[in-house]
């Protein structure tokens, strides 16, 4: 896939044979290219590429920031994967979050996208309304929800109480805290995917549906046999992107619960933050970051492989 992107190049003309190792055209091109690239590349090297390499190296050391790094080989990784009980819980928490959040997000986004593409007036307004949380700092929205989740007086419990549901301690109950965070995140996040799906649905030519109508298809069949398959590239994109970003969840868990109760809402990035910037275990934290990368990488690769099975490209 990467090759396709790289090879879809602009200029078709290739330089023909040269008088020396560098002919004049190549030289000027190179200089021009360097001038164009320079601002971005300097920053890219300094703030992205080199830190990535340094991070990898640090992960093999023990470093408490004061004092010198001490080489530790694979110890950090070994501990993380095999002896750190808390990290195991953190991974499970994160997987639970990713699984439930992505599902919730995509289902709501798709439902609303289908609804908003039904020839209603003023749809643009509604589209904007549902997208609104995407422009606001997560920490601010998370605090509103924290208040709504309060036991006894919080809006959520008062509402559930109307149906006879007993008070739930939400963010203080290890069984419900993560669920609460998932719901909050769903509210904040589905608008984005909804917009993507709306664009996808609008891209489906009407002729498809007309042909189906003529053949006597009902609404349900239209959805499953036409809309969904034609939308599958968008769905694939949305799911992959949402999974990747949800693995990195931090703001909500930090601000709503700080990882409690009983570490039931501690997620990978929060754990990274605690180890790196509260306990200052730089090497260990770096290793956590790379484990995070490994998770994201593996999950994305699996998605790519599965793509052939369920994504329909024309």
């Amino acid at each position: 896939m990467a090759e396709n992107i790289v090879n879809s190049t602009g200029l078709a003309a290739k330089n023909n044979k040269k008088t020396g190792y560098w002919n004049k055209r190549e030289k000027t091109n190179l200089i021009t290219a360097i001038l164009f690239l320079l601002p971005n590349i300097i920053g890219f090297l300094a703030f992205t590429l080199i830190p990535v390499i340094v991070s990898f190296i640090i992960s093999f050391f023990d470093w408490e920031l004061v004092g010198d790094p001490v080489f530790a080989g694979l110890k950090n990784y070994y501990n993380l994967l095999f002896s750190d009980r808390l990290f195991l819980k953190v991974i499970l928490n994160t997987l639970y979050y990713v699984g439930s959040y992505v599902t919730l997000n995509v289902i709501i986004a798709m439902s609303l996208a289908l609804w908003l593409t039904r020839n209603l007036k003023g749809v643009l307004v509604f589209r904007s309304v549902f997208f609104l949380p995407q422009v606001m700092p997560i920490v601010a929205l998370a605090l509103i929800w924290k208040m709504m989740y309060l036991p006894k007086y919080g809006l959520i419990n008062l509402f559930l109480g109307l149906f006879g549901v007993p008070d739930i301690n939400w963010l203080f109950d290890p069984r419900f805290a993560m669920l609460g965070i998932v719901i909050t995140s769903g509210w904040m996040g589905f608008g984005y995917n909804m917009v993507i799906f709306i664009a996808g649905i609008k891209g489906i030519p009407q002729s498809m549906f007309e042909a189906a109508w003529i053949d006597g298809a009902n609404k349900w069949q239209c959805f499953w046999r036409i809309t969904l398959p034609l939308l599958s590239p968008s769905v694939f994109y949305a799911v992959v992107m949402t999974i990747i970003s949800s693995f990195q969840v931090f703001d909500q868990t930090m601000v709503m619960t700080g990882g409690s109760p009983a570490n039931s809402t501690n997620t990978i990035v929060l754990y990274l933050y605690q180890n790196g910037f509260q306990f200052f275990k730089m090497g260990y934290a770096s290793a956590i970051a790379w484990v995070l990368f490994a998770f994201i990488f593996v999950v994305t690769m699996i998605q790519m492989k599965l793509q052939k099975d369920w994504v329909y490209y024309e």
Binding site: F36, L37, I144, K152, Y153, I198, D251
Partner: protein, 284 residues
């Protein structure tokens, strides 16, 4: 008789359409409840923030809560910082990414594809990987608690370059050929032909950069300690740390942080939503 049936059908479908509309309005209102509740709580006196049954408006409307919250912490400074950082990053991203993208899309040079692959590769690496070394670098440079620390590390990611390069590739070559025949320099081609044609992609990039920086929490949290260098997200976190149990004031602080977002949204919403639809992307 036929006419009557037609009219009945028409009335019925109109009825269902209106019902659907009402349902949609209802759903949006339910969706907005948290925001409404935030405003409602912010104006209540302290002892009325928690009540059964919940009230939309308290016994008095305490506009003074906002003044109190504003004075507890320097929100004006937080807003200024957020704004400076967001604008500067946006400008840097748009300029450097488009320049580099032009090189990748239109200039043949040795090693171009390898270099671009490297850019692409880093897209997969989450920001958390670079955070720790970047923090150490900031410390060594003495850049902790400075604007540079907030702006520079985030202005040069591969994402913008990738987005612009893909877009540039869709621009037909003929225009540049014409320009080149007229003796235009590469930079001239970039500035006078390519860039003006790239407004949709550029505005998408600009808007997403701005909003991304406006919402950014983790990196500023790591690199800023001094109160007067904090951005809005850090400010609200600080407020929570100090006055977290005074829900009405906390909601004022939240409103203070959210209102600029709403304003920005109203101004930009057309471009925002179109931008995602157009490019199918936007840094998440």
């Amino acid at each position: 008789m036929e006419e009557k049936i037609k009219r009945e059908n028409y009335v019925r479908s109109r009825f269902f359409k209106s019902l659907e509309y009402v349902l949609l309005v209802f759903t949006s209102c339910v969706f907005l409840i948290p925001i409404v509740w935030m405003f409602s709580t912010s104006l209540k006196p302290n002892n009325e923030t928690m009540s059964i049954p919940p009230k939309l408006i308290g016994s008095t409307i305490e506009w003074g809560n906002y003044a109190k919250a504003w004075n507890f912490l320097p929100f004006g400074v937080f807003m200024k910082n957020s704004f400076i950082v967001a604008v500067t990053v946006t400008v840097l991203v748009v300029i450097t990414s488009s320049l580099a993208a032009y090189a990748f899309a239109r200039i043949q040079f040795k090693g171009r594809d390898t270099l671009f692959l490297m850019y692409l590769g880093t897209l997969m690496i989450p920001q958390q990987v670079t955070m720790i070394p970047l923090f150490i670098i900031m410390k060594k440079l003495g850049w902790v608690d400075t604007y540079q620390a907030l702006i520079l590390p985030v202005s040069f990611t591969a994402f913008g370059t990738f987005l612009m390069r893909q877009f540039f590739l869709t621009i037909p070559q003929e225009l540049e050929e014409a320009g080149r025949i007229d003796g235009c320099s590469p930079f001239g081609l970039y500035a006078r032909i390519i860039m003006p044609m790239s407004k949709p992609a550029l505005s998408t990039l600009a808007i997403f950069s701005f909003i991304g920086q406006w919402r950014n929490f983790l990196w500023p949290l790591i690199v800023i300690n001094k109160t007067d260098m904090k951005t809005l997200p850090l400010g609200i976190r600080m407020f929570q740390g100090q006055y977290g149990t005074e829900w009405n004031l906390l909601m004022c602080a939240t409103a203070i942080v959210i209102i600029p977002s709403i304003l920005i949204f109203i101004i930009l919403q057309k471009y925002l939503v179109e931008g995602i639809s157009l490019t199918g992307m936007g840094g998440r």
